[in-house]
């Protein structure tokens, strides 16, 4: 059975994160949001905690498919410890990759920014699944704006 396209969606990295999620569970935070993917009912409750402008923690709980679960785990791994501007840059790059409809093949620069998250490149070919991959990332940006204020988030956004 030929499963190229799909195997490129279900990368081992994604399956690993799905089976062993990072930072799952709800811990103290400065803001909490609840996002839903209306097309499939996936849900996430996500909290952010900031230490000045440093992402001190991203904790979350929710239900969803391997893609949305793995993406939340990758987000936690990638963003915790980064300062806001860096974290926003990662978020923005991830967003661009996911909206590329399979047209972007991540280059070295992108891999450096996204690390494990480049594994999601294959998902961008499946519009119905892009929303799964983005659920936690949208929730994170929303929670961050609530915790720190829209103004600051906009200022630190590069694009």
């Amino acid at each position: 059975m030929r499963l190229e396209a799909m195997e490129s969606m279900y990368q081992d990295v994604i399956l690993d994160h799905y089976k062993n999620p990072h930072g799952r569970g709800l811990r103290d935070g400065d803001a909490e949001v609840h996002h839903v993917n209306p097309t499939c009912g996936d849900e996430i409750t996500l909290r952010v905690r900031y230490d000045g402008e440093t992402v001190a923690d991203v904790s979350y709980e929710g239900q969803g498919c391997s893609i949305s679960q793995a993406s939340a785990s990758v987000l936690n791994e990638l963003l915790v410890g980064k300062d806001l501007a860096e974290a926003l840059a990662v978020q923005d790059t991830f967003l661009r990759l996911m909206q590329s409809k399979g047209q972007i093949t991540p280059d070295d620069a992108m891999e450096e920014v996204l690390e494990d998250a480049v594994a999601f490149a294959g998902v961008s070919k499946y519009p119905a699944r892009v929303k799964c991959a983005l659920l936690s990332w949208m929730a994170w940006k929303d929670a961050t704006a609530q915790a720190l204020g829209d103004g600051l988030v906009n200022e630190r956004t590069t694009s």
Partner: protein
């Protein structure tokens, strides 16, 4: 693995009528289309009827004295006659064309909200639905309840996926103005017991609305035998085109109830300050109707009737029984809904261990097998059974036992993939 189940149709012949069933997906895999509860495919006869309509006869209907307008009107009204006889309506004037079943149900809810007594729904009255409704038979009633102050109540579900009628008499009371329920559930497959509900509703003088969206395509439908006041269904699930739905309603109700959408075609006479309305069905068909779509639906009804609704029901019954048997062999698979093939339609929902339906559906798709995953526009059912979503396989007159086998093989592969 018997592929000659008793009651099967000659699917080889039938499948020749459906061009899409011959396409392949994902680099040459044959399409196994098991998403019929979401929408059916269309036979060439239906597509040809619509093309022929546009290429030879199109004009706006009614009001025209030229040949094309006469022909288009005759075709459009002819489709109404076909649909009326398909559901055994006493009169063709009881068949209203809408854009889909959702509009049909909203139309009823709105008529009752603006009606005079004895039909008027207001803050002293109650609306009864069930926990297994499609969102299209929930949200219109929520709107009506919010806007009139009426109370919305509902039947719960038993653990084996059936309506819990144990509190029938407490739910449907003297205050109940309308009871609306699905004939066959689009998630559970359950075929609901109409008689008990209709009898109780009639006792208290409540109107009965039946959502037959998942019934009309699959079995003989007789609105008179049902005893309901309104029956809604949708064209695209019954070999017809998108863009058309049906509301059947009892004549005297259609006469008494107020119109919903205003515009061309539905009026008798208009002045700037007030208007009077045409008799039903036109009163409820504002604007240019779905003309080609009605022609297509008429052709679909001819197609289905040509094969025979009894025979289609028997075919699906056989396929469903076989599917339930075969699915029972898949480890960790849990059917959501009745596990026996009695009183159920050809829609089978299930979960597969902890594997999220999105993942199940995606890996099946890669093998050419199209199923639907999610809450199927009936989220309360998922809440009721404590699951986020299901995977749903749904069959139709062209489905084969071999497709059931493909599904089962596909599910084994899914288990391996995420195991």
């Amino acid at each position: 693995m018997s592929h000659t189940l008793p009651g099967l149709l000659d699917t080889e012949a039938i499948r020749k009528d459906f061009p899409i069933l011959h396409r392949t997906v994902h680099d040459g895999k044959p399409l196994v289309y098991l998403d019929n509860a979401a929408s059916s495919q269309k036979p060439r006869q239906v597509l040809d009827a619509m093309s022929e309509y546009y290429e030879r006869h199109h004009a706006n209907v009614h009001r025209g004295v030229h040949v094309l307008a006469e022909e288009a009107t005759a075709l459009y009204e002819g489709a109404r006659t076909k649909v009326a006889s398909f559901v055994n309506a006493p009169s063709r004037d009881e068949v209203i064309f809408t854009k889909n079943a959702s509009e049909s149900l909203n139309l009823v809810a709105n008529m009752l909200g603006w009606a005079e007594e004895p039909y008027r729904v207001d803050d002293r009255t109650e609306i009864v639905i069930t926990e297994m409704e499609h969102h299209s038979n929930i949200v219109p009633w929520q709107f009506l309840a919010q806007r009139t102050g009426a109370k919305l109540k509902w039947f719960g579900l038993t653990d084996d996926g059936r309506l819990d009628l144990s509190n029938l008499d407490e739910l449907i009371t003297e205050h109940t103005k309308v009871v609306s329920f699905v004939l066959v559930s689009n998630v559970l497959g359950t075929h609901n017991p109409v008689e008990a509900i209709v009898r109780r509703a009639q006792q208290v003088g409540a109107l009965v609305v039946i959502d037959a969206s998942q019934a009309a395509p699959h079995m003989p439908l007789d609105v008179q035998a049902l005893g309901a006041d309104f029956v809604a269904f949708t064209g695209h699930k019954m070999c017809g085109p998108t863009g058309i739905g049906v509301l059947w309603g009892r004549q005297e109700l259609l006469e008494d109830l107020p119109p919903f959408l205003g515009g061309g075609e539905m009026i008798e006479t208009v002045t700037m300050s007030s208007s009077t309305y045409a008799p039903a069905p036109h009163k409820f068909e504002a604007g240019t109707p779905p003309i080609a779509e009605a022609v297509g639906l008429g052709a679909a009804v001819d197609y289905l009737t040509g094969i025979g609704m009894e025979r289609i029901a028997a075919h699906e019954q056989a396929i469903t029984r076989y599917a339930l048997e075969r699915l029972a062999e898949v480890p960790d698979l849990r059917i959501i809904g009745p596990v026996s093939s009695e009183d159920r339609g050809a829609t089978v929902s299930f979960t597969l261990g902890d594997i999220h339906p999105h993942d199940v559906g995606q890996v099946l798709d890669e093998q050419g097998i199209a199923v639907r995953v999610g809450h199927h526009c009936a989220r309360p059912v998922c809440l009721r059974y404590g699951i986020p979503a299901t995977t749903r396989a749904s069959f139709y007159l062209y489905s084969t036992p071999a497709e059931v086998d493909a599904l089962v093989r596909g599910l084994e592969y899914v288990r391996g993939f995420f195991g």
